[in-house]
């Protein structure tokens, strides 16, 4: 398998972008909650990204990416329409168990809205009453509102500054939903670890089953290295093959957050190194341009 072409790209903000990649087999195989591992070029790192949508007819999968470090920023620059990715493998992980819950709350925080979408849609298709709760820092960062809303029976949008929907975190949205519906069977939450931790705490007292999707650092994604290990209750699990979905009430989020900081120093170095070479490249281009003009 090679030649993974980018057939569509959309920029939601200056840090969030969408890539639609042609991969007919994957589009057929993908299920909600699964992810891929991408290498943008031969020297690149293998980074895990959730499959935010898949279209069997077009034979494509969709990734929504936040530019946070070297690889995701570089991809933001180079992954243009018509370019190809060096490698993409998946769909990885155990598909989300779309339970027979009658009433579910689907929570997406920030970028987590994208990976949450296929699950919300699957719950809707299986006949559940779906309450969507999405959270963003402010109105400008909102994306996929219509798409998400379309598969929800109720939809609550939260922003930190109140510039859209209710002012507050997604946990506020969950609180409102629980208050209004005493019969919620399940809450599913995807977002930054702190947010998922907050969601699990918000539902614990109500004893509502809460599933979260964990995002530890990964290498192979096939269960071979143990880099993605997470603590679930008393057990150690490998998120890439045993997850990525786990019972939020059992997850040790502090452990997850500590482990995410493993390579902070090296990540900084990689970013600096890359920015340095980008600057150099710019100077070279400028000098070449100047030389051309001088002639």
């Amino acid at each position: 398998m090679s030649n993974f072409e980018i057939v569509a790209r959309e920029d939601f903000s200056d840090v969030t972008y969408l890539l639609e990649v042609r991969h007919p087999l994957m589009a057929k195989a993908a299920r909600p909650g699964q992810f891929v591992i991408v290498m943008s070029h031969e020297h690149g790192e293998r980074i895990p990204l959730t499959i935010a949508d898949f279209d069997q007819v077009k034979g494509t999968i969709t990734l929504v990416i936040q530019a946070v470090g070297k690889t995701t920023r570089e991809m933001q620059q180079v992954c243009k329409l018509g370019t190809t990715l060096y490698a993409i493998v998946g769909p990885m992980g155990v598909p989300s168990p779309i339970s027979h819950a009658k009433k579910v709350v689907c929570v997406g925080g920030g970028l987590g809205v994208a990976p949450m979408f296929p699950q919300a849609r699957a719950f809707k298709e299986s006949g559940a009453y779906v309450i969507g709760v999405v959270g963003f820092r402010n109105k400008d960062l909102v994306f996929w509102e219509d798409k998400f809303r379309a598969c929800c029976d109720e939809f609550i949008i939260c922003t930190d500054d109140g510039s859209a929907g209710i002012k507050g975190l997604v946990t506020e949205g969950i609180r409102q939903a629980i208050e209004k519906h005493p019969d919620i069977d399940e809450v599913v939450a995807i977002g930054p670890p702190v947010m998922m931790k907050g969601c699990a705490e918000a539902t614990r007292a109500h004893k509502i089953k809460t599933m979260v999707s964990l995002n530890p650092l990964m290498v192979d994604g096939t269960g071979m290295c143990g880099g993605c290990r997470v603590k679930i209750g008393d057990e150690v699990k490998f998120a890439c093959v045993d997850g990525p979905d786990f019972d939020g009430h059992l997850v040790d989020f502090d452990d997850l957050m500590t482990r995410l900081r493993r390579y902070t120093k090296e990540e900084r170095m990689a970013l600096d190194h890359w920015e340095q070479s980008c600057r150099l490249q710019k100077e070279i281009d400028a000098a070449a341009q100047a030389a051309l003009l001088a002639r």
Binding site: M1, G44, V89, D220, T222, M224, M269
Partner: protein, 499 residues
């Protein structure tokens, strides 16, 4: 006719192999051993008595006709030696480097009863390297038989099975989850033991046989084994997905940053080239003081990689004694030479937290050997009150692996009680047309055993499909360039393709 050799007439000492100086090589990723030169190989070949018992052949998991290839080396007929080896083994340049010869062919060598055994592994490597340098490949005429065969995993088991099925005339595709083929050969065993060029060359030969490699393909998830023999139209499938799933110790502090499996360290370093960070994007934790737990090949590789990455101190912590260390003898010896500090009869009890999520050190306990256990090895038991702490900032676990769960999660293949794929004596699984072999059946073993399993599975597959090998001889171009009386350059053999 030459006089019959006896133990007293042969060179008494094993011919040494040129190696990089230990202190220099502990700082680079160049290959440690340079291999024999022709004169070295011929001298070593002299040491083989060509004894009638030939215990070495029985000692080889794939039964290479060792005395005959050595005899050919003695006659400077390297091409002939290569043909003898490749009649049974596929990857001499690899196996000569990584087989645990001391437990196999060399362990039973007749010369070894009174002197040092004949260096069979070094001779095999010599022939394998000569073949790569000369571009030899034994490509038989292949008549397509219309069968499509799928291989899952491109480690030694998958490669060996693929080669045999391709030679039998099947249309073979190998599916690999990683972006490069080779399995442990690629991601596990470091460059200084097995250079990438050697793997590329050996895989190149398979491509020459018409085998297709599809990387970036996670079988089970992208499509299932059942789909392969169903709608995808494969007549038979071989599963060689390797062991994977590293074991953690389960002691306090296991999840601290700075504790990682040898597989993670080695994959980052070898496959992802983290040693060239930041020119390659993947980072790697480089400890000042690294403790590696375990004493197998994987542990030795982790230690020697750490030294090369610039760690000041590298310790080996093993609960049994040196005699029980499962690594190849040569690797332990090399690690010692390069400056690894060995702590035998020592077992970790807890990893110590530095208060910031990282590792400050480790508490260990001294062990002593007690009664023999089921494996016949004396069981290590802790010495009460002998706990002690020492400083380190990276801890690498190399204490074995469990079965990878993906095949079990995604297919109806029956597993055994440890989670490995269950097979009968012909390596057939519970699903008709699906065979399995290598580490995913036996648990972590060796390259040559995995290759042997791949070949045995291929034999069963051929029986299952009702095909026989076209028993045509390999093409052996002689020096004159004339074969069967026809000049090779002008020949137009209907049924023979020359590599």
């Amino acid at each position: 006719m030459a006089k019959k050799k006896t133990i007293r007439t042969i060179p008494q000492e094993r011919t040494p192999m040129l190696e990089q100086d230990p202190r220099a090589r502990a700082k680079n990723f160049e290959e440690v051993s340079y291999g024999y030169r022709l004169q070295d190989a011929m001298r070593e070949a002299e040491r083989c008595l060509l004894c009638p018992d030939q215990p070495c052949i029985a000692g080889c998991p794939v039964g290479i006709d060792i005395p005959s290839f050595i005899e050919k080396i003695g006659k400077k007929d390297l091409r002939g030696a290569y043909d003898v080896i490749t009649a049974t083994s596929l990857l001499p340049a690899i196996c000569g480097r990584v087989c645990p010869q001391e437990n196999q062919c060399e362990g039973v060598c007749t010369v070894g009863e009174s002197l040092e055994a004949v260096a069979i592994g070094r001779l095999e490597r010599f022939v394998g390297d000569a073949a790569i340098a000369e571009g030899w490949a034994n490509i038989p005429y292949i008549e397509p038989n219309g069968f499509k065969v799928g291989i899952v995993g491109s480690g030694p088991a998958g490669i060996a099975c693929a080669a045999d099925m391709a030679k039998a005339g099947c249309d073979v595709t190998v599916f690999e989850a990683f972006h490069q083929p080779g399995g442990v050969l690629r991601y596990g065993i470091p460059d200084f033991r097995l250079p990438n060029e050697v793997i590329d060359a050996e895989i190149g030969k398979l491509v020459g046989l018409g085998v297709r490699f599809e990387c970036n393909t996670l079988v089970g998830r992208l499509f299932t084994i059942e789909q392969m023999i169903g709608e995808m139209g494969f007549s038979a499938v071989f599963v060689g997905t390797g062991a994977g799933y590293p074991t953690m110790l389960g002691i306090p502090g296991d999840s601290l940053n700075g504790v990682l499996s040898a597989n993670e360290l080695l994959t980052r370093c070898n496959l992802m080239r983290a040693k060239e960070f930041p020119n390659y994007d993947t980072p790697l934790p480089i400890g000042k003081r690294v403790a590696v737990i375990g004493s197998g090949n994987t542990a030795m590789d982790a230690m020697r990689v750490s030294l090369r990455l610039g760690s000041e101190k590298v310790y080996c912590i093993y609960r049994r004694s040196k005699a029980e260390a499962p690594a190849r003898a040569e690797e332990v010896h090399h690690a010692e030479e390069e400056g690894v500090e060995f702590h035998w009869l020592t077992n970790p009890v807890a990893v110590l937290d530095d208060g910031k999520g990282g590792v400050r050190g480790m508490t260990c306990i001294k062990m002593e050997l007690g009664e023999p256990d089921d494996s016949g090895r004396r069981r290590p038991v802790p010495v009460e009150g002998s706990e002690f702490d020492f400083e380190c900032d990276v801890i690498v676990y190399a204490i074995g692996t469990n079965a990878n769960p993906i095949m079990g999660q995604t297919s109806k293949l029956k597993l055994n009680k440890w989670g490995y794929i269950a097979t009968d004596e012909h390596l057939a699984t519970s699903v008709a047309g699906v065979f399995a072999g290598g580490d995913i059946v036996t648990g972590a073993a060796t390259v040559i055993e995995a290759m042997g399993a791949g070949r045995r599975a291929a034999a069963s597959m051929k029986a299952y499909l009702g095909i026989r090998d076209s028993n045509l001889p390999y093409v052996v171009p002689d020096e004159s360039g004339i074969l069967f009386g026809i000049p090779l350059r002008e020949r137009n053999f209907a049924r023979v393709r020359v590599a």
